[in-house]
Protein backbone atom coordinates (compact mmCIF):
# COMPACT_ATOMS: atom_id res chain seq x y z
CA UNK A 1 0.00 0.00 0.00
CA UNK A 2 2.68 2.43 1.05
CA UNK A 3 4.70 1.43 -1.98
CA UNK A 4 1.82 1.88 -4.37
CA UNK A 5 1.25 5.34 -3.01
CA UNK A 6 4.88 6.30 -3.11
CA UNK A 7 5.10 5.15 -6.67
CA UNK A 8 2.10 7.20 -7.65
CA UNK A 9 3.75 10.20 -6.05
CA UNK A 10 6.97 9.55 -7.89
CA UNK A 11 5.13 9.29 -11.19
CA UNK A 12 3.41 12.55 -10.53
CA UNK A 13 6.64 14.31 -9.60
CA UNK A 14 8.32 12.93 -12.66
CA UNK A 15 5.62 14.04 -15.06
CA UNK A 16 5.72 17.49 -13.49
CA UNK A 17 9.44 17.66 -13.93
CA UNK A 18 9.17 16.62 -17.55
CA UNK A 19 6.77 19.42 -18.26
CA UNK A 20 8.66 22.03 -16.32
CA UNK A 21 11.76 22.63 -18.31
CA UNK A 22 12.88 24.95 -15.61
CA UNK A 23 13.70 28.63 -15.72
CA UNK A 24 17.00 29.57 -17.21
CA UNK A 25 19.12 30.57 -14.32
CA UNK A 26 21.00 33.81 -14.54
CA UNK A 27 24.15 32.16 -13.31
CA UNK A 28 25.77 29.58 -15.51
CA UNK A 29 28.76 27.85 -14.01
CA UNK A 30 31.87 28.48 -16.08
CA UNK A 31 34.77 26.38 -14.97
CA UNK A 32 37.03 26.74 -17.98
CA UNK A 33 38.92 29.96 -18.57
CA UNK A 34 37.66 32.00 -21.54
CA UNK A 35 38.89 31.05 -25.00
CA UNK A 36 37.94 31.76 -28.56
CA UNK A 37 36.21 28.77 -30.11
CA UNK A 38 36.42 27.61 -33.70
CA UNK A 39 34.64 24.62 -35.20
CA UNK A 40 35.76 24.57 -38.84
CA UNK A 41 34.28 22.17 -41.34
CA UNK A 42 37.43 21.58 -43.38
CA UNK A 43 40.94 20.40 -42.53
CA UNK A 44 42.39 23.31 -44.54
CA UNK A 45 40.63 25.77 -42.24
CA UNK A 46 42.04 23.96 -39.21
CA UNK A 47 45.53 24.16 -40.69
CA UNK A 48 45.17 27.83 -41.46
CA UNK A 49 43.99 28.52 -37.89
CA UNK A 50 46.93 26.53 -36.56
CA UNK A 51 49.30 28.51 -38.76
CA UNK A 52 47.93 31.74 -37.26
CA UNK A 53 47.41 30.70 -33.64
CA UNK A 54 49.22 27.36 -33.21
CA UNK A 55 51.29 28.36 -30.21
CA UNK A 56 48.21 29.58 -28.30
CA UNK A 57 45.71 27.00 -29.52
CA UNK A 58 44.57 23.55 -28.45
CA UNK A 59 42.91 21.14 -30.85
CA UNK A 60 39.75 19.51 -29.46
CA UNK A 61 39.05 15.98 -30.70
CA UNK A 62 37.23 13.67 -28.27
CA UNK A 63 37.80 16.07 -25.38
CA UNK A 64 38.10 13.36 -22.73
CA UNK A 65 41.44 14.76 -21.57
CA UNK A 66 41.28 18.34 -22.80
CA UNK A 67 37.87 19.26 -21.34
CA UNK A 68 38.80 18.34 -17.74
CA UNK A 69 42.15 20.09 -18.18
CA UNK A 70 40.20 23.19 -19.23
CA UNK A 71 37.65 22.83 -16.44
CA UNK A 72 40.41 22.54 -13.84
CA UNK A 73 42.22 25.43 -15.55
CA UNK A 74 45.33 23.35 -15.97
CA UNK A 75 45.17 24.28 -19.65
CA UNK A 76 44.52 27.89 -20.65
CA UNK A 77 44.60 28.08 -24.42
CA UNK A 78 43.55 31.35 -26.04
CA UNK A 79 41.96 29.37 -28.88
CA UNK A 80 40.20 26.02 -29.03
CA UNK A 81 39.89 24.45 -32.48
CA UNK A 82 37.20 21.77 -32.47
CA UNK A 83 37.55 18.96 -35.04
CA UNK A 84 34.06 17.57 -34.42
CA UNK A 85 32.50 19.40 -37.36
CA UNK A 86 34.93 17.90 -39.85
CA UNK A 87 33.21 15.52 -42.20
CA UNK A 88 36.50 13.78 -42.99
CA UNK A 89 39.02 12.12 -40.65
CA UNK A 90 36.44 9.65 -39.31
CA UNK A 91 37.35 6.61 -41.41
CA UNK A 92 39.04 3.31 -40.61
CA UNK A 93 40.75 2.41 -43.85
CA UNK A 94 42.54 -0.84 -44.62
CA UNK A 95 45.44 -0.09 -46.97
CA UNK A 96 47.52 -3.16 -47.71
CA UNK A 97 50.08 -3.52 -44.95
CA UNK A 98 48.57 -1.02 -42.54
CA UNK A 99 45.21 0.19 -41.22
CA UNK A 100 44.74 3.97 -41.32
CA UNK A 101 42.73 5.65 -38.58
CA UNK A 102 41.52 9.17 -39.34
CA UNK A 103 42.15 11.56 -36.48
CA UNK A 104 38.47 11.56 -35.45
CA UNK A 105 37.92 7.79 -35.28
CA UNK A 106 36.33 7.20 -31.88
CA UNK A 107 37.87 4.52 -29.71
CA UNK A 108 34.50 2.81 -29.41
CA UNK A 109 34.10 2.67 -33.20
CA UNK A 110 37.53 1.05 -33.50
CA UNK A 111 36.64 -1.36 -30.70
CA UNK A 112 33.58 -2.53 -32.67
CA UNK A 113 35.39 -2.73 -36.01
CA UNK A 114 35.91 -6.17 -37.56
CA UNK A 115 38.83 -4.75 -39.56
CA UNK A 116 40.57 -3.70 -36.35
CA UNK A 117 39.85 -7.05 -34.70
CA UNK A 118 41.29 -9.04 -37.58
CA UNK A 119 44.05 -6.81 -38.90
CA UNK A 120 45.39 -5.05 -35.81
CA UNK A 121 44.34 -7.38 -32.99
CA UNK A 122 46.68 -5.95 -30.37
CA UNK A 123 44.94 -2.60 -30.74
CA UNK A 124 41.60 -4.36 -30.41
CA UNK A 125 42.79 -5.97 -27.20
CA UNK A 126 44.04 -2.66 -25.76
CA UNK A 127 41.00 -0.48 -26.51
CA UNK A 128 38.64 -1.83 -23.79
CA UNK A 129 41.24 -0.86 -21.16
CA UNK A 130 40.74 2.82 -21.97
CA UNK A 131 38.46 4.45 -19.39
CA UNK A 132 34.87 3.30 -19.79
CA UNK A 133 32.37 2.95 -22.62
CA UNK A 134 31.11 6.53 -22.22
CA UNK A 135 34.71 7.76 -22.44
CA UNK A 136 35.43 5.65 -25.53
CA UNK A 137 32.22 6.87 -27.19
CA UNK A 138 33.91 10.29 -27.41
CA UNK A 139 37.65 9.63 -27.13
CA UNK A 140 39.63 9.26 -30.33
CA UNK A 141 42.62 7.13 -31.30
CA UNK A 142 44.48 10.13 -32.70
CA UNK A 143 43.68 12.24 -29.65
CA UNK A 144 45.01 9.66 -27.22
CA UNK A 145 48.24 9.30 -29.18
CA UNK A 146 48.93 13.01 -29.61
CA UNK A 147 48.01 13.71 -25.97
CA UNK A 148 50.81 11.30 -25.00
CA UNK A 149 49.83 10.61 -21.41
CA UNK A 150 52.51 8.44 -19.80
CA UNK A 151 49.83 6.03 -18.52
CA UNK A 152 47.83 5.79 -21.75
CA UNK A 153 47.38 2.54 -23.64
CA UNK A 154 47.54 3.65 -27.26
CA UNK A 155 51.02 5.24 -27.28
CA UNK A 156 52.41 1.91 -26.02
CA UNK A 157 50.47 0.02 -28.70
CA UNK A 158 51.76 2.44 -31.35
CA UNK A 159 55.30 1.82 -30.15
CA UNK A 160 55.07 -1.98 -30.09
CA UNK A 161 53.44 -2.14 -33.51
CA UNK A 162 55.84 0.36 -35.14
CA UNK A 163 52.90 2.57 -36.04
CA UNK A 164 53.27 5.90 -37.78
CA UNK A 165 51.46 9.20 -37.40
CA UNK A 166 50.75 11.58 -40.27
CA UNK A 167 51.21 15.24 -39.35
CA UNK A 168 49.94 17.96 -41.65
CA UNK A 169 50.39 21.72 -41.70
CA UNK A 170 50.17 24.46 -44.32
CA UNK A 171 53.88 23.71 -44.88
CA UNK A 172 53.09 20.17 -45.99
CA UNK A 173 52.78 16.67 -44.60
CA UNK A 174 55.21 14.36 -42.85
CA UNK A 175 55.09 10.88 -41.44
CA UNK A 176 56.70 10.17 -38.08
CA UNK A 177 57.39 6.75 -36.57
CA UNK A 178 56.00 6.18 -33.09
CA UNK A 179 59.58 5.62 -31.88
CA UNK A 180 60.42 9.21 -32.86
CA UNK A 181 57.09 10.75 -31.86
CA UNK A 182 56.73 10.37 -28.10
CA UNK A 183 59.07 12.66 -26.17
CA UNK A 184 57.61 12.69 -22.67
CA UNK A 185 54.47 13.05 -20.58
CA UNK A 186 52.14 15.25 -22.73
CA UNK A 187 55.04 15.96 -25.11
CA UNK A 188 55.49 14.79 -28.69
CA UNK A 189 57.35 15.75 -31.86
CA UNK A 190 54.29 17.55 -33.26
CA UNK A 191 54.89 21.22 -34.12
CA UNK A 192 52.53 24.01 -33.02
CA UNK A 193 51.14 24.45 -36.51
CA UNK A 194 50.68 20.73 -37.22
CA UNK A 195 47.56 18.60 -37.00
CA UNK A 196 47.70 14.85 -36.50
CA UNK A 197 45.46 13.69 -39.35
CA UNK A 198 46.04 9.94 -39.36
CA UNK A 199 47.48 7.05 -37.39
CA UNK A 200 48.82 4.09 -39.38
CA UNK A 201 48.95 0.79 -37.53
CA UNK A 202 50.72 -2.06 -39.36
CA UNK A 203 48.64 -5.15 -40.06
CA UNK A 204 49.72 -8.13 -37.94
CA UNK A 205 51.85 -10.44 -40.06
CA UNK A 206 50.89 -14.08 -40.58
CA UNK A 207 52.01 -16.09 -37.59
CA UNK A 208 52.58 -13.02 -35.47
CA UNK A 209 51.32 -13.32 -31.89
CA UNK A 210 50.23 -10.34 -29.86
CA UNK A 211 49.20 -9.39 -26.37
CA UNK A 212 48.15 -6.33 -24.45
CA UNK A 213 47.96 -6.57 -20.67
CA UNK A 214 47.81 -4.05 -17.88
CA UNK A 215 47.32 -3.77 -14.15
CA UNK A 216 45.12 -1.12 -12.60
CA UNK A 217 43.52 -0.77 -9.19
CA UNK A 218 40.00 -0.79 -10.63
CA UNK A 219 38.61 -1.45 -14.11
CA UNK A 220 38.99 1.69 -16.20
CA UNK A 221 41.48 3.43 -13.92
CA UNK A 222 44.77 4.66 -15.27
CA UNK A 223 47.14 1.73 -15.46
CA UNK A 224 49.86 1.20 -12.90
CA UNK A 225 51.74 -0.60 -15.66
CA UNK A 226 50.81 -1.95 -19.05
CA UNK A 227 52.57 -3.98 -21.72
CA UNK A 228 52.11 -4.50 -25.44
CA UNK A 229 54.01 -7.42 -26.94
CA UNK A 230 54.38 -8.72 -30.49
CA UNK A 231 56.16 -12.00 -31.23
CA UNK A 232 56.93 -14.07 -34.33
CA UNK A 233 58.69 -17.41 -34.63
CA UNK A 234 60.55 -18.79 -37.65
CA UNK A 235 60.14 -22.17 -39.36
CA UNK A 236 62.33 -24.00 -36.85
CA UNK A 237 60.43 -22.45 -33.93
CA UNK A 238 62.99 -19.85 -32.82
CA UNK A 239 61.89 -16.29 -32.06
CA UNK A 240 62.34 -14.31 -35.27
CA UNK A 241 61.03 -10.98 -34.13
CA UNK A 242 59.90 -9.52 -30.84
CA UNK A 243 58.72 -6.07 -29.81
CA UNK A 244 57.78 -5.16 -26.25
CA UNK A 245 56.62 -1.77 -24.99
CA UNK A 246 55.73 -0.69 -21.47
CA UNK A 247 53.53 2.12 -20.22
CA UNK A 248 53.29 3.77 -16.83
CA UNK A 249 56.93 3.10 -15.94
CA UNK A 250 58.32 6.52 -16.89
CA UNK A 251 57.43 9.79 -18.60
CA UNK A 252 56.73 8.05 -21.91
CA UNK A 253 56.16 4.52 -23.20
CA UNK A 254 59.42 2.61 -23.63
CA UNK A 255 60.56 -0.28 -25.78
CA UNK A 256 62.34 -3.07 -23.93
CA UNK A 257 65.33 -3.25 -26.30
CA UNK A 258 67.46 -5.47 -24.06
CA UNK A 259 64.74 -8.02 -23.57
CA UNK A 260 63.86 -8.05 -27.26
CA UNK A 261 67.51 -8.59 -28.23
CA UNK A 262 67.89 -11.36 -25.64
CA UNK A 263 64.95 -13.27 -27.13
CA UNK A 264 65.51 -12.98 -30.88
CA UNK A 265 67.16 -16.13 -32.26
CA UNK A 266 66.46 -18.21 -29.13
CA UNK A 267 63.90 -20.94 -28.61
CA UNK A 268 60.83 -19.78 -26.67
CA UNK A 269 60.52 -21.19 -23.16
CA UNK A 270 59.01 -20.11 -19.86
CA UNK A 271 62.53 -19.51 -18.51
CA UNK A 272 63.50 -17.39 -21.52
CA UNK A 273 60.38 -15.27 -21.10
CA UNK A 274 60.94 -14.88 -17.36
CA UNK A 275 64.56 -13.84 -17.95
CA UNK A 276 63.47 -11.39 -20.66
CA UNK A 277 60.88 -9.92 -18.29
CA UNK A 278 63.64 -9.37 -15.72
CA UNK A 279 65.84 -7.77 -18.36
CA UNK A 280 63.00 -5.56 -19.54
CA UNK A 281 62.33 -4.12 -16.12
CA UNK A 282 65.57 -4.25 -14.08
CA UNK A 283 66.69 -0.75 -15.08
CA UNK A 284 63.28 0.92 -14.97
CA UNK A 285 62.71 3.85 -12.65
CA UNK A 286 58.92 3.96 -12.40
CA UNK A 287 57.20 6.67 -10.39
CA UNK A 288 56.43 6.14 -6.72
CA UNK A 289 53.14 7.47 -5.40
CA UNK A 290 50.07 6.65 -3.34
CA UNK A 291 48.97 4.07 -5.92
CA UNK A 292 52.18 2.09 -5.68
CA UNK A 293 55.87 2.30 -4.90
CA UNK A 294 58.52 2.20 -7.62
CA UNK A 295 59.57 -1.28 -6.48
CA UNK A 296 55.97 -2.53 -6.62
CA UNK A 297 55.52 -1.10 -10.12
CA UNK A 298 58.78 -2.69 -11.27
CA UNK A 299 57.60 -6.04 -9.93
CA UNK A 300 54.22 -5.63 -11.67
CA UNK A 301 55.99 -4.67 -14.89
CA UNK A 302 58.14 -7.78 -14.79
CA UNK A 303 55.19 -10.11 -14.18
CA UNK A 304 53.12 -8.35 -16.84
CA UNK A 305 55.88 -8.55 -19.46
CA UNK A 306 56.30 -12.27 -18.80
CA UNK A 307 52.56 -12.92 -19.10
CA UNK A 308 52.28 -10.79 -22.23
CA UNK A 309 55.15 -12.70 -23.88
CA UNK A 310 53.59 -16.05 -22.99
CA UNK A 311 50.22 -14.97 -24.36
CA UNK A 312 51.74 -13.52 -27.54
CA UNK A 313 53.67 -16.74 -28.06
CA UNK A 314 50.50 -18.85 -27.60
CA UNK A 315 48.91 -16.78 -30.33
CA UNK A 316 51.68 -17.60 -32.79
CA UNK A 317 50.17 -21.06 -32.62
CA UNK A 318 53.34 -22.43 -31.01
CA UNK A 319 53.78 -24.58 -27.92
CA UNK A 320 56.67 -24.69 -25.52
Amino acid sequence: MYWAKAREGARHAQSLETRLVGPESAETAMKAPPFEYFAPDSVDEVLSLLEQHGDEAKVLAGGQSLVPLLAMRLARPAYVIDLNRLGSLGAIDERGDYVAFGAMVRERAAERSAVVRHKTPVLSEALPFIGHIAIRNRGTIGGSIVHSDASAELPAVALATDSEVVLRSVRGERTVRAADFFEGHFTTAIADDELLVEVRVPVARPGEGWSFAEVSRRAGDFALVGVAAMLRVDARGAIADCRISLLGVGPKPVRADNAEASLVGTMPSPDAFAAAAQAATADLLPPSDVHGSAAFRRHLASVTVRRALERAFERTGGGM
Binding site: E17, A29, P34, Y37, G63, Q64, P68, I135, A219
Partner: protein, 163 residues
Protein backbone atom coordinates in the same frame (compact mmCIF):
# COMPACT_ATOMS: atom_id res chain seq x y z
CA UNK B 1 36.83 36.53 -26.26
CA UNK B 2 34.58 33.58 -25.74
CA UNK B 3 31.53 35.10 -27.36
CA UNK B 4 28.12 33.74 -26.54
CA UNK B 5 26.81 31.21 -29.02
CA UNK B 6 23.31 30.04 -29.77
CA UNK B 7 22.86 26.32 -29.34
CA UNK B 8 19.91 24.62 -31.00
CA UNK B 9 19.33 21.08 -29.94
CA UNK B 10 16.67 18.49 -29.41
CA UNK B 11 16.40 17.90 -25.69
CA UNK B 12 14.27 15.01 -24.47
CA UNK B 13 12.41 15.01 -27.78
CA UNK B 14 11.71 18.73 -27.88
CA UNK B 15 13.52 21.37 -29.93
CA UNK B 16 15.20 23.94 -27.73
CA UNK B 17 17.49 26.85 -28.25
CA UNK B 18 19.62 28.64 -25.66
CA UNK B 19 22.75 30.70 -25.50
CA UNK B 20 25.99 29.90 -23.75
CA UNK B 21 29.65 30.75 -23.91
CA UNK B 22 31.81 28.19 -25.66
CA UNK B 23 33.56 27.37 -22.39
CA UNK B 24 30.38 26.09 -20.70
CA UNK B 25 30.26 22.33 -20.35
CA UNK B 26 27.22 20.39 -21.51
CA UNK B 27 26.53 19.40 -17.90
CA UNK B 28 26.43 23.00 -16.65
CA UNK B 29 24.38 24.02 -19.70
CA UNK B 30 21.79 21.34 -18.98
CA UNK B 31 21.57 22.24 -15.32
CA UNK B 32 21.93 26.01 -15.36
CA UNK B 33 20.55 27.05 -18.75
CA UNK B 34 17.89 24.41 -19.33
CA UNK B 35 17.02 23.78 -15.68
CA UNK B 36 17.45 20.03 -16.08
CA UNK B 37 19.02 19.32 -12.74
CA UNK B 38 18.46 15.57 -12.94
CA UNK B 39 21.93 15.40 -14.50
CA UNK B 40 24.19 15.30 -11.47
CA UNK B 41 27.76 16.47 -11.21
CA UNK B 42 30.09 14.39 -9.09
CA UNK B 43 33.75 14.40 -9.98
CA UNK B 44 33.60 16.66 -13.05
CA UNK B 45 36.52 14.84 -14.61
CA UNK B 46 34.94 11.82 -16.23
CA UNK B 47 35.48 9.29 -13.47
CA UNK B 48 32.19 8.98 -11.57
CA UNK B 49 29.56 8.74 -14.33
CA UNK B 50 26.88 10.71 -12.46
CA UNK B 51 26.56 13.21 -15.34
CA UNK B 52 26.04 10.55 -18.04
CA UNK B 53 23.53 11.58 -20.73
CA UNK B 54 22.73 10.28 -24.20
CA UNK B 55 23.97 12.29 -27.19
CA UNK B 56 22.59 10.93 -30.45
CA UNK B 57 21.91 7.73 -28.52
CA UNK B 58 25.42 7.22 -27.13
CA UNK B 59 26.12 7.40 -23.41
CA UNK B 60 28.60 10.23 -22.82
CA UNK B 61 29.93 12.26 -19.92
CA UNK B 62 28.20 15.62 -20.06
CA UNK B 63 31.02 17.11 -17.95
CA UNK B 64 33.49 16.23 -20.72
CA UNK B 65 31.69 17.92 -23.59
CA UNK B 66 31.21 21.56 -24.36
CA UNK B 67 27.61 22.67 -24.72
CA UNK B 68 28.36 24.15 -28.16
CA UNK B 69 29.20 20.64 -29.33
CA UNK B 70 25.56 19.52 -29.06
CA UNK B 71 24.36 22.19 -31.48
CA UNK B 72 22.17 20.27 -33.93
CA UNK B 73 22.32 17.06 -31.90
CA UNK B 74 19.82 15.08 -29.87
CA UNK B 75 20.32 14.90 -26.12
CA UNK B 76 18.39 12.75 -23.65
CA UNK B 77 18.65 13.31 -19.91
CA UNK B 78 17.00 11.36 -17.11
CA UNK B 79 14.04 13.76 -17.30
CA UNK B 80 13.35 12.50 -20.83
CA UNK B 81 12.87 8.84 -19.99
CA UNK B 82 9.43 8.72 -18.39
CA UNK B 83 6.38 9.38 -20.53
CA UNK B 84 2.64 9.71 -19.98
CA UNK B 85 2.41 5.96 -19.45
CA UNK B 86 4.84 6.10 -16.55
CA UNK B 87 8.43 5.41 -15.82
CA UNK B 88 10.84 3.97 -18.36
CA UNK B 89 11.23 0.18 -17.97
CA UNK B 90 14.78 0.71 -16.69
CA UNK B 91 13.50 3.13 -14.06
CA UNK B 92 10.76 0.64 -13.14
CA UNK B 93 13.33 -2.11 -12.76
CA UNK B 94 15.61 0.06 -10.61
CA UNK B 95 12.59 0.88 -8.46
CA UNK B 96 11.58 -2.75 -8.10
CA UNK B 97 15.12 -3.86 -7.26
CA UNK B 98 15.75 -0.97 -4.89
CA UNK B 99 18.80 -0.20 -6.99
CA UNK B 100 19.56 3.07 -5.24
CA UNK B 101 19.75 4.58 -1.83
CA UNK B 102 20.61 8.28 -1.86
CA UNK B 103 19.93 8.46 -5.59
CA UNK B 104 22.78 10.80 -6.51
CA UNK B 105 24.36 8.41 -8.99
CA UNK B 106 21.05 6.99 -10.24
CA UNK B 107 20.46 9.20 -13.32
CA UNK B 108 23.89 8.21 -14.65
CA UNK B 109 23.34 4.52 -13.93
CA UNK B 110 19.90 4.59 -15.55
CA UNK B 111 21.13 6.28 -18.73
CA UNK B 112 24.16 3.99 -19.02
CA UNK B 113 21.75 1.07 -18.67
CA UNK B 114 19.37 2.44 -21.30
CA UNK B 115 22.30 2.76 -23.74
CA UNK B 116 23.53 -0.74 -22.88
CA UNK B 117 20.18 -2.45 -23.37
CA UNK B 118 19.51 -0.65 -26.64
CA UNK B 119 22.78 -1.94 -28.00
CA UNK B 120 22.69 -5.34 -26.37
CA UNK B 121 19.24 -6.44 -25.13
CA UNK B 122 20.70 -9.83 -24.22
CA UNK B 123 23.36 -8.37 -21.93
CA UNK B 124 24.48 -10.87 -19.31
CA UNK B 125 25.90 -10.05 -15.91
CA UNK B 126 29.43 -9.71 -17.30
CA UNK B 127 28.27 -7.26 -19.99
CA UNK B 128 26.35 -5.31 -17.37
CA UNK B 129 29.32 -5.05 -15.02
CA UNK B 130 31.52 -3.95 -17.92
CA UNK B 131 28.99 -1.37 -19.12
CA UNK B 132 28.47 0.07 -15.64
CA UNK B 133 32.12 0.00 -14.60
CA UNK B 134 32.23 3.72 -15.34
CA UNK B 135 29.48 4.60 -12.88
CA UNK B 136 30.34 4.96 -9.24
CA UNK B 137 27.83 4.40 -6.42
CA UNK B 138 28.81 5.00 -2.82
CA UNK B 139 25.87 3.41 -1.05
CA UNK B 140 24.11 0.43 -2.63
CA UNK B 141 27.11 -1.82 -2.97
CA UNK B 142 26.18 -2.39 -6.61
CA UNK B 143 24.53 -5.78 -6.16
CA UNK B 144 21.00 -4.41 -6.27
CA UNK B 145 21.93 -2.24 -9.25
CA UNK B 146 23.10 -5.29 -11.17
CA UNK B 147 19.87 -7.03 -10.17
CA UNK B 148 17.89 -4.03 -11.41
CA UNK B 149 19.61 -4.11 -14.77
CA UNK B 150 19.13 -7.85 -15.11
CA UNK B 151 15.43 -7.29 -14.37
CA UNK B 152 15.26 -4.46 -16.92
CA UNK B 153 16.89 -6.64 -19.57
CA UNK B 154 14.42 -9.43 -18.84
CA UNK B 155 11.46 -7.04 -18.99
CA UNK B 156 12.71 -5.59 -22.28
CA UNK B 157 13.04 -9.05 -23.81
CA UNK B 158 9.53 -9.99 -22.69
CA UNK B 159 8.04 -6.85 -24.19
CA UNK B 160 10.14 -7.57 -27.26
CA UNK B 161 11.19 -4.02 -27.85
CA UNK B 162 13.18 -1.21 -26.43
CA UNK B 163 12.21 2.32 -25.73
Amino acid sequence: MSATQTIQLTINGLPRSAVAEARVTLADFLRDRLGLTGTHLGCEQGVCGACTVLVDGDAVRSCLMLAVQVDGREVVTVEGLADAAGMHPVQEAFWESHAFQCGFCTPGFVLSTVALLRENPDADEHDIREALSGNVCRCTGYQSIIEGVVAAARAAREVGGQR
